[in-house]
Structures are given as structure tokens and as C-alpha cells.
């Protein structure tokens, strides 16, 4: 369906999007994940046709879109902070695209009501935009993008400005909506939990380039580089040595399948699921910090001079100063070249 090939967007001397490839298939949700300023919003604007591209190709079902202006692409775009029209009421916003498409008044009213029901706002049709809460505005923006039945839906940080309870609720609703409509979608966010919850496929961007792409679970299990692991909140990194016998860490030698002949300095990052409390575990340490996190406790354990983070059920978490034994699951040990 949507194919983006080697797209480059430059702003003066800086390259905002630097040779990005991307494909979105029928019914697929792709999340573009990256920190702010990585070029993900610019990429969306380029796909929508709002941002001219310096080179590369954006095409839909094989048709090059270079000469198709944004108003003829039939792509829905939900803007960061929504960009709702302040001079029109809710129905006026939602029906805007239909009006542009010259849909008759009666049909338009019917469609608007239908989409408003879909997002659960059917009784707000006549309300002004200014009085709406953030969550309501978000739904209006979603309804506005959906009303014209776009062939692709793009969402730019749609939950960015919302409080946590709203975020979780709307995230679930967007997921349901995308499942139901089978609309191909691109979801741009800087929050990996949002991306994991929503996407079939994940594209990680950094400084205008795609760092890694693939199914969400696969990307999380094996981040392509240390920066990505860090972005997912893994860590902290610890210096180690890799040679033919295995990986020499402060907590002993681990057998890993990436053994090399010559000894190499590396950085080791442990995925959160790599550590578990185990009285017979090989790593012995002392709890130096304990943070309450609801049903869990997050412990920082000092072992052989290095800090490890481990999550345990809150009820039987040890206290600060207690000794603790841990087992390490080799699959969760991520090895990156030392820089």
C-alpha cells in the first residue's frame, strides 16, 4: 500500500529525514518511535504531502505521489495538539473534510453523527472547541480524520498532551478502532510503551534515520544498538570483556552465543526480564535502594561494584541493606561494542 523509499528532507544545512524507507501494508499499524527532534513528524508531513521532499519517493499502491497535492492524497492526519478549527463547532470540524469533498448536507450530517458515535462524542456535536477537555479534543481530532474515510490514517503523538488515565483509555480505544476498521495506520510517538501497545510493526528513528524496524516484540528483545536499549529504559550499561570462553562481567562469566576468538571490550546491558531473585543464583549482592511502584518494588542491587536493577513483587521484597541472590537469564544479556 504505502511505500516510502529513501526519502530525504533537508532544512537548510540540517537533514531532518535522511534516507528513510518504510512500508505500510493493508490493515497494518506501524509505529514510528523516536525522541523528539528525530524527524518522525517531518516524515509524516512528507508522506501527507505537506512537506516537499528533497529526494526519494512516496507512493501508494505503486502510484508515485510526487505530483499529488496534500488535498488529493486522501490520507488522514491527526496533528500533534490536534489543530482543531477554533472557529467551527465539533460537528463543523468533523464534517470539514466531507464538505471539501462536496458531500451533501443530509449525508454529511449522518456521517458526522456516525463518526462521533464511533469515538463516543455523539452528544457534543454542537459544542464549541474551546470548552472541550483535552481528551474530548483528541477524540474530535480522531473523528475529523476518520470522517472522510481516508485510505491511510496517520497519528502524530496523539496522546502527547493528555494525563495518564486518559492516555491509557484512549490508547485502548484507538487500538480497538484500528482493529475494527482495518485501516492502515502510522502512529508516531516518543513513548515506547504506547508503541508496543499499538503497533504490529515498530520503526525506531534517530537523527533522521531508521535505526531498527521489525515486529514490536523482536525489537524490544534485541534492540539494535545501545542507544535504542537505553531509549527503552534498559541498563545501566556495564563494561565487560568478551572472548572465546564467554562474557566476563563483574558478576562472573556468562555463556553467550556471540563468543569471539580475540578478547574484546564490550558494554553489557541487561534487559529488565534478565534478572530474577533466586536463592541459589550465582550473583550475590546487597540491596542499596528500594522504590515502591505499586504491586512491585524496584530494587537497586550492588554486586561486585556494579549496580543492577531488578523488579520483584512488593510483598516479599527485601529491605535496603539485605543481601540478595540473583540469577541471570543469558537471553536478556545484550552485548554492544564499547565506544
Amino acid at each position: 500500500m504505502l511505500t516510502v523509499e529513501c526519502v530525504v528532507v533537508r532544512f537548510g544545512a540540517t537533514t531532518a529525514v535522511d534516507g528513510v524507507d518504510l512500508a505500510v501494508g493493508a490493515g497494518e499499524t506501524v509505529a514510528i518511535l523516536g525522541p523528539s527532534g528525530c524527524g518522525k513528524s517531518t516524515l509524516l508531513r512528507a508522506i501527507a504531502g505537506l512537506q516537499p521532499i528533497d529526494s526519494g519517493r512516496v507512493s501508494w499502491a505503486g502510484e508515485d505521489l510526487a505530483s499529488v497535492p496534500p488535498h488529493r492524497r486522501r490520507f488522514g492526519l491527526m496533528f500533534q495538539e490536534y489543530a482543531l478549527f477554533p472557529h467551527r463547532d465539533v460537528a463543523g470540524n468533523v464534517g470539514f473534510g466531507l464538505r471539501m469533498a462536496r458531500v451533501g448536507r443530509a449525508e454529511r450530517g449522518r456521517r458526522v453523527q456516525e463518526v462521533l458515535e464511533l469515538v463516543g462524542l455523539s452528544d457534543l456535536a454542537g459544542r464549541r472547541i474551546v470548552g472541550l477537555s483535552g481528551g474530548e479534543q483528541q477524540r474530535v481530532a480522531l473523528a475529523r480524520a476518520l470522517a472522510v474515510e481516508p485510505r491511510l490514517l496517520m497519528l502524530d503523538e496523539p496522546l502527547g498532551a493528555l494525563d495518564r488515565p486518559w492516555r491509557e483509555r484512549l490508547l485502548r480505544e484507538i487500538r480497538e478502532l484500528l482493529d475494527r476498521t482495518q485501516l492502515p495506520a502510522i502512529y508516531v510517538t516518543h513513548d515506547h510503551e504506547e508503541a508496543f501497545a499499538l503497533a504490529d510493526r515498530l520503526v525506531v528513528m534517530r537523527a533522521g534515520r531508521v535505526v531498527q524496524a521489525g515486529p514490536a516484540a523482536g525489537v524490544w528483545r534485541r534492540p539494535a544498538d545501545q542507544w535504542t536499549a537505553d531509549f527503552f529504559g534498559f541498563g545501566p550499561p556495564v563494561a565487560a570483556q568478551l572472548d572465546a570462553r564467554g562474557l566476563h562481567t563483574p558478576w562472573g562469566t556468562l555463556v553467550v552465543n556471540t563468543a569471539v576468538a580475540a578478547a574484546t571490550d564490550v558494554q553489557v546491558v541487561l534487559r529488565p526480564d534478565a534478572l530474577r531473585p533466586d536463592p541459589a543464583g550465582p550473583v550475590r549482592g546487597v540491596v542499596v535502594q528500594r522504590a515502591f511502584a505499586g504491586d512491585r518494588a524496584e530494587l537497586t542491587v550492588e554486586a561486585n561494584g556494579a549496580h543492577l536493577r531488578v523488579r520483584v513483587p512488593e510483598r516479599d521484597a527485601p529491605a535496603v541493606g539485605d543481601a540478595m541472590c540473583l540469577a541471570i537469564d543469558a537471553d536478556g544479556v545484550l552485548v554492544y561494542p564499547a565506544d
Binding site: 508531513r45 501527507a48 505537506l50 497535492p69 496534500p70 488535498h71 488529493r72 492524497r73 486522501r74 490520507f75 488522514g76 492526519l77 496533528f79 500533534q80 495538539e81 489543530a83 482543531l84 478549527f85 477554533p86 472557529h87 470539514f96 473534510g97 471539501m100 469533498a101 474551546v130 475529523r144 472522510v148
Partner: protein, 535 residues
């Protein structure tokens, strides 16, 4: 919009101002240079005295305006009180009131037997300075107060928590942040007082004339066009130098400022603050409202008793002798001229605003400055330029009625631009993107997004243009034919005649003009408040 369309859109305002502003100015420069008048003007002692007086009266008036305006700006910015909207509108009224109305009001106050006659000022510098402060308080209250209201009060809170006293926090935190807007507002007041004409001509005495009045005198009484032109040139250079400094300052003012909604920054006064707020509000209301009230009341009195005679006399043949036409015809002239001028100003100023706001870049910045030049040019210069430049081939408009609205529109255009450009610039560009993605072609985007959002600003600009044109005095005085006076001209004719009935008729006409202008201003304020609440 297509490229050709964009160019056309920019060419109309540039062409209009080229013919009706740049050309007259060029003609003035030509006159002053060709006759060697510039050298004469720069060395003449009498004229140097005029320049010196112009400068110091402007400086003193600016300082006094700050002293009166800043307390009111503070109260409006930081406190909630009932009738705040009304107060803001009320403060604006003097600023848009015709100069002749204000001049009449102060002449009445200071005349023998007037409410302030005990000061013994009559005509002269004292009443002049008071009138100038009266005019310009609005500039301080609105620009400084507006900025102040959006200044995050948590900064001061932070200073207080860190151990600064109330006064210290103001001095260390608020004042440095307010510095640039205060300086900008003060420069605008200086600009207005430096080029003051009507109040000086009508209130001051002959020994204390400004450059504006001297230009008028040289051109119309002494018929010495080269000297008048040279004086106009000197004034223009001084004003443009000031405008450049002002533009620089505004660029620097653009440092990142965290601004908050005014609602979060103001609160009700407590304890002793109530006395301060009440005192400042009361004092301001008396200072600004008193003269106008006295004017309206005195217009209903003649020879110490209540009388409608001043109004009735307006339709008398004696009045017609003074004005050359019946008084109601002056009113009709004023309304017609103002309507035509406002339409021209909105069309030309609107197109210019669209061009200025369309995209940032050096070209539009240059255009911005070019289009603002008329703001810095005094009305007298515009009027004088008209009679110097538009009296021969290829554009001979001598004694044509259309000169009046044309001159008034040149004076009013900057006000339209000031009203419309910020509204257009404030439109979130993503709204246009959203419309575009939803299927709106480029021209439709303008109609669906820009126009409806900026509509109120266009209406406000139109209102300002009407108010400015209704009260326009300096330029109109040059170009109006004696048999088609406007109300301000008519008032000045009554003022120039002796006798209670003549000044009574001046007061009566001033009151009428004040009511009309006040109604226009209140309508504008109403629209602006709704706009601020909406977006």
C-alpha cells in the same frame, strides 16, 4: 495561492502607497532641496527654537504619561475587579478621540470661569502637556498592561520564596522583564507627542509651537513651501531614526518569554491593596473622564444657565456664515469621507497585511517596514505632500473632494495593518495543514481558515479606520475645500472665533463627535474582547 496572485496582492498596496504616500514625500524632499531651504532651516535661530521646544515638550509629556499610565497598567494587569473590561475600553477612548475634541475640552477646563481656571494656565504649555498625557495614557496602559498581564507571576513567587521582599522582587524580576515593553510604549508616546499637531495648534500659544504647527504655518500662512518642506524633511528624518531604534528594540524584545493566560496572573485585591487599586482606578477615571464630562455638561450651558442654544445655533445662519455650509452638512461630510476612507484603508491595508503575514523572510520584513512608514509620518506631512504633489499632471486632484478620504486613508492604513497582521500571524499554520489534508485546495484553505479567523480583526481595523478618519485633523486641514468642511474643521473654525456662543457650538459639535467616536470604540472593544475569549 499562485505566484502571480501573490505578486498582485502585494502590488496593490505598494502601488497605492507609492502614489499617495511615497510620491508626496518625494515631492516634499524635492522642494526642500531644490530651493536650498534645508540649509536655511538648519541655521535659523527661530526654527532651531521650534525644534528644541518640540523635543523637550515631547520628552516631558512622555515622562508624565508614564507616571500616570504605569499605575493603571499595574492594576489592570494584576488585579481582578468588577468592570475591568469597561475600564480597559474607557481608557482607550481618549486615544481615539479626535484631537479637536480633546483640545476643546481642555480649553473649556482652563478658560476663565472653567473648572481649572484657578491654575491660571489658559493657553500655553501647561494645558498642552496635560492634554498630551490625557491622549497617550492608553498607549501605556494597553501595551505595558497587556504584556504585564501575561507575565508569569510564578517568577515573582520564586523570587519571594528565595527571600526577596515584595519591592525587591519587583525591582529584580518584574522590572527588568517589563523594561523593553515600557521602552517601546514610551517611544510610541514620544513619537505621538513629537508629531503632535491639533492640540498644539489649538491649545498652545504662538510662542510654543512644534515642528508640525510650524510646517502648517509656513505652508498656509506664509506660503513658504520650501521652508515648510525642509521642516517636514527634518521631522521625517528624526522620526524614522526613532522608528528604526524602535524596530531594533522590538526584535530584541522577542527573547523567549514564558507568558501565561491573563486569567492566571490576576486576582482580587486584598487588604490594603484594595485602597491602592481603588485609588488608581478612581484617579484614572477622574483624569480621563472629567474633561469629557465637563465638555458634555458645558455644551448644555450658556452664560451661566442651562441651555440647548449651542446645539440649536448649529443650524442658524450665523453658523453657516462661519462654516460656509450648514452644520449638518459638515456632519454628513465627515461620515461620508470617513466611510470611503475606511473602505480604502481596509482594502489596501488588508491586502498589505496578507502580504506581510504570508511568509516570514527578508522580502516581507522589508515590506513590513515600508508599509509602516506612513505611521511614522505626521498627518501634516501627508496633507502638505498631497497639495505639493497632486496638483499637476499626471495626477491633478487639486480641489477634488476625493483628496480628503484619500489623505485620511493614508493616515488610517497603518492602524488597519496593526490590527490585522497579528491576527493573521496568530493563526496556527497547522490549521492550514489540517484543512489541506482534509481535502481543501489552497485557495479554499484561505477562505476556510484565514478569513473566518481574521474576520474580526478586519472589522476592528475598519472600526479604527472610521474612528481615525472621523477625527483626522492635520491632513484634512490641508486638503479639505473650504466649502466642504468636516466636523473637526468646523470645530476649529468655531474655536477661532470669539464669544461664548461660538465656543458653545464648538463644544456641542465636539460632544456629538465624541459620542460617535466613543460608540465606534466601544464596538471595537466589544469585538476584541470576544475574540480574545474565543481563541
Amino acid at each position: 495561492m499562485s505566484r502571480a496572485g501573490r505578486v498582485l496582492r502585494a502590488l496593490i498596496p505598494l502601488g497605492f502607497l507609492g502614489v499617495f504616500f511615497a510620491w508626496p514625500v518625494a515631492a516634499i524632499i524635492g522642494r526642500s532641496v531644490s530651493a536650498g531651504a534645508l540649509h536655511r532651516v538648519l541655521t535659523d535661530r527661530g526654527l532651531r527654537h521650534v525644534a528644541w521646544f518640540t523635543l523637550w515638550q515631547a520628552l516631558v509629556a512622555t515622562a508624565l504619561t508614564l507616571a500616570v499610565g504605569l499605575p493603571a497598567a499595574y492594576v489592570v494587569a494584576r488585579y481582578d475587579f468588577r468592570g475591568k473590561r469597561l475600564f480597559r475600553a474607557f481608557v482607550t477612548v481618549p486615544f481615539v478621540l479626535p484631537t479637536v475634541v480633546v483640545a476643546t475640552a481642555f480649553l473649556v477646563l482652563f478658560r476663565p470661569g472653567g473648572a481649572l481656571s484657578f491654575l491660571g494656565w489658559q493657553r500655553g504649555v501647561g494645558p498642552l502637556l496635560v492634554a498630551e498625557v490625557f491622549f497617550n495614557v492608553a498607549v501605556i496602559v494597553r501595551t505595558v498592561g497587556g504584556f504585564w498581564a501575561h507575565l508569569d507571576p510564578r517568577r515573582t513567587d520564586a523570587a519571594r520564596v528565595l527571600g526577596a521582599s515584595r519591592v525587591r522582587a519587583f525591582r529584580e524580576v518584574t522590572l527588568p522583564l517589563l523594561g523593553p515593553p515600557i521602552a517601546a510604549a514610551a517611544s510610541i508616546v514620544f513619537l505621538f507627542t513629537f508629531t503632535a499637531f491639533g492640540v498644539v495648534l489649538l491649545i498652545s500659544d504662538p510662542a510654543h509651537a512644534t515642528l508640525e504647527v510650524e510646517i502648517y504655518r509656513q505652508a498656509t500662512e506664509l506660503l513658504d513651501f520650501p521652508t515648510a518642506a525642509a521642516l517636514a524633511l527634518v521631522q521625517m528624518v528624526a522620526v524614522f531614526a526613532l522608528l528604526l531604534v524602535l524596530a531594533r528594540m522590538q526584535e530584541r524584545r522577542a527573547v523567549a518569554q514564558r507568558l501565561v493566560a491573563a486569567r492566571d496572573a490576576s486576582r482580587r485585591a486584598r487588604g490594603w491593596e484594595r485602597a491602592v487599586v481603588g485609588g488608581v482606578l478612581g484617579g484614572t477615571v477622574v483624569f480621563l473622564g472629567g474633561p469629557l464630562l465637563v465638555l458634555a455638561v458645558e455644551s448644555l450651558r450658556l452664560g451661566g444657565s442651562w441651555s440647548l442654544e449651542p446645539y440649536r445655533a448649529l443650524s442658524s445662519s450665523a453658523a453657516t456664515d462661519t462654516l460656509f455650509v450648514p452644520a449638518w452638512e459638515a456632519l454628513r461630510n465627515s461620515l461620508e469621507f470617513a466611510a470611503v476612507a475606511a473602505v480604502i484603508a481596509v482594502v489596501v491595508g488588508g491586502l498589505a497585511s496578507v502580504a506581510i503575514a504570508s511568509r516570514p523572510g527578508r522580502a516581507t520584513r522589508t515590506m513590513d517596514t515600508l508599509l509602516m512608514l506612513p505611521l511614522g509620518t505626521s498627518a501634516v506631512t501627508v496633507g502638505f505632500g498631497f497639495i505639493v504633489a497632486l496638483d499637476r499632471w499626471p495626477l491633478d486632484l487639486r480641489a477634488k473632494l476625493v483628496l480628503v478620504p484619500l489623505a485620511q486613508s493614508v493616515v488610517a492604513i497603518p492602524f488597519v495593518i496593526r490590527a490585522v497582521v497579528p491576527a493573521l500571524r496568530s493563526i496556527d499554520p497547522r490549521l492550514r495543514d489540517a484543512a489541506s489534508v482534509l481535502g481543501a485546495p489552497p485557495r479554499r484553505v484561505w477562505r476556510e481558515v484565514d478569513l473566518p479567523i481574521a474576520m474580526r480583526a478586519f472589522v476592528v481595523g475598519f472600526g479604527f479606520a472610521v474612528a481615525v478618519s472621523l477625527g483626522e485633523f492635520g491632513a484634512t486641514l490641508f486638503v479639505a475645500r473650504s466649502d466642504s468642511p468636516t466636523i473637526p474643521i468646523a470645530i476649529s473654525r468655531f474655536l477661532a472665533r470669539p464669544g461664548d456662543l461660538n465656543i458653545g457650538q464648538a463644544m456641542a459639535m465636539s460632544t456629538v463627535l465624541m459620542v460617535v467616536t466613543g460608540a465606534v470604540v466601544l464596538a471595537i472593544e466589544h469585538l476584541q474582547v470576544r475574540q480574545a475569549g474565543d481563541f
